[in-house]
Amino acid sequence: MRELTYAEATLEALSEEMAIDPTIFVVGEGIGARGGNFNTTTGLHALYGDMRLRDTGIYERGFTGMCAGAAMTGSRPLVDYMFLDFGLDAMGEILNQIAKIQYMSGGRLKMPIVLRGCIGLGGANATHHSGNYFSYFVNHPGLHVALPTTPADAKGLLKSAIRSDDPVLFLEHKSLLKTVGPVPEGEEHIVPFGKAALRTQGDDVTVVALTAMVQKCVDVSDTLVPKGVSIEVIDPRTVAPLDMETILTSVHKTGRLLIVDESFGPCGMGAEIAARVTEEAFPVLKAAIKRVNGAHVPMPYSAPLEAAAIPQVDQIETAVRNLLSE
């Protein structure tokens, strides 16, 4: 199969969907002729012009709220925040309007909108270009949240997001944008929401890993296999909806669960997954559930501080070993 970068894969998805559906339009800063800060729209402005590739000023709340109104009236907007940190200015529009309007209207309105942006720690981006934030959106009813980790999933999940009549946060970890992988060709490569992927199979520990942590956990798996330890790395791919069935099936097999999430621990995905596994599979647990999270601190800039804030491979490996020793 031909290989693409993650960013090329999302561009292919967007390009294919815009060719199919003339009601799709994109808004954001520099997504017109510039093609997007992260090359999210390269070449599309030349094909579709200003109305469908709308450069904006720096007013995230404004264009997010505008797109909510557009989604209620027959078009399918995609908001490109560049960095999701910038989208926080639009939280009122996202949580109070976009997430609630289908329910508030008693199901009379749909809200087909995609909110995409880069997340993730690292790269000396410092605290205003580094947040993960996704648990905020998972906490709130009415939103889907996709966290693709491979180029193939990036394409297939973005197509699902664009075709959905529900609002979707499509969040891309910056460290993944240039990663390369096989991507199926054609318009009908769709990855459904709520279906996790097993990145490794194993019997000793279930490891649920999110976004950039997936590859780190696969690396840990590679180092542990020769030492006789097999871990099952689960990539949920979407955290709302969350594929609890795959997680529970694995926990029934291993009896041990580690959640590795670069974002903050308190009230995060690890806490949620641990609670639900405890509620539904407590009798099969052989050890207390463990979490590895990024440090609960505004993201620092300097390299040694940054490295200390991000979960590293040795930390993950230690956590696996600690689980096995219980």
């Binding site: 109104g69 289908q102 087909p112 009415g142």
Partner: protein, 340 residues
């Protein structure tokens, strides 16, 4: 000056009926609130009926209205049946939002009512978005936002007008300047207590009218809507008005304003003024006596029809079923719901 022709008597009577329908509904809602039948908030539109009525007279079902917390009048003027409004405020399954919304979340997209809102400001952005959709879809539909003076200092006003002006969106931004945001006077909130003169800052057509004069609102909205439909861009329409009841039922009406001020605005009641205007039209006709008699009969007939409609709506709401708790989770997402 408006380019629109003076409205026909038939149009004037329709405007009269439209305003009266809102007034009588609001009066009933206030009584129902006092009787404990409305469990949530109830912000009435009494005194401001000319604005929704004068603007919505120019709108079709496929034009989109986005409203505010004081939105009963907008919903009714846009064509949401009174019975569905009252039933929604009563929390019944037959309400326009199936009991999920209440007063501040009235939706009926079938007639272009895209929601009242408990948050001040987003309606401006959403109307811009509707305008964006209609321009993208090459339709002559129009997006309309109603909002109060309280929204004008909110960032949504700035951002919404920036977008609509720059992209020449088919939008109408109707500011109902009733001079108070809850109990805070507009000139306490801002150094510029005029709204229409802000239009210059955005390079947007802007006009201020007497919001208690339905003919002035009707004429200004005619121009704005026809310009929007013709692709000539958005308009900011400031309607100077006053709410003669409290911010919300159960709250005080004075203390932050005088009874004299309220009374002076009651003397400018838009419904009474239109009746007077109709009578003056009759006086100027060749057989005034005959027309006067005819007019009284017509206005009385409208009064009776509206009262019957509100009474029937109240009975409908009172006898409507409550939502089934088993449907609690329905409509969070778009997929088909069980039994729907």
């Amino acid at each position: 000056m408006s380019k629109a022709k003076p409205p026909s008597k038939q149009t004037l009577l329709a405007l009269y009926q439209g305003m009266l329908r809102i007034r009588r509904t609001e009066e009933q809602l206030a009584l129902s609130f006092q009787a404990g039948l409305i469990p949530g908030a109830c912000h009435t539109y009494v005194g401001e009926e000319a604005i929704a009525t004068g603007v919505c007279a120019h709108l079709r079902d496929d034009d989109a209205v986005f409203s505010t917390h004081r939105g009963h009048g907008h919903a009714i003027a846009k064509g949401v049946p009174v019975r569905e409004v009252i039933a929604e405020l009563f929390g019944r399954a037959t309400g326009c939002s199936r009991g999920r919304g209440g007063s501040m979340h009235l939706f009926k997209p079938e007639v272009g009512m895209m929601g009242t809102s408990g948050i001040v400001g987003p309606c401006i952005l959403q109307a811009a978005g509707a305008g964006y959709s209609f321009k993208l879809l090459k339709s002559d539909r129009v997006g309309v936002a109603f909002f109060g003076d309280g929204a004008v200092s909110n960032g949504a006003f700035h951002e919404g007008l920036t977008m609509a002006a720059r992209w020449q969106l088919p939008c109408l931004f109707v500011c109902e300047n009733n001079q108070f945001a809850t109990e805070i006077p507009f000139d306490v909130a801002t150094g510029n207590p005029e709204v229409a003169n802000r239009g210059v800052a955005y390079n947007i057509a802007a006009v201020a009218v007497d919001g208690n004069d339905v003919l002035a609102v009707h004429a200004a909205a005619a121009d704005a809507v026809s310009r929007a439909r013709a692709g000539e861009g958005p308009t900011l329409l400031e309607c100077k008005t006053y709410r003669t009841r409290a911010h919300a039922e159960g709250m005080r009406a004075t203390g932050y304003r005088t009874q004299e001020a309220i009374d002076s605005w009651k003397a400018k009641d838009p419904i009474t003024r239109l009746a007077q205007h109709l009578a003056e039209l009759g006086d100027s006709a060749t057989t005034p006596g005959e027309l006067d008699g005819e007019l009284d009969g017509e206005l009385n007939g409208i009064e009776e029809e509206v009262r019957n409609q509100v009474r029937e709506a109240l009975e409908f709401a009172e006898s409507s079923p409550w939502p089934d708790p088993a449907t609690l989770m329905d409509h969070v997402f778009s997929e088909e719901v069980a039994g729907a």
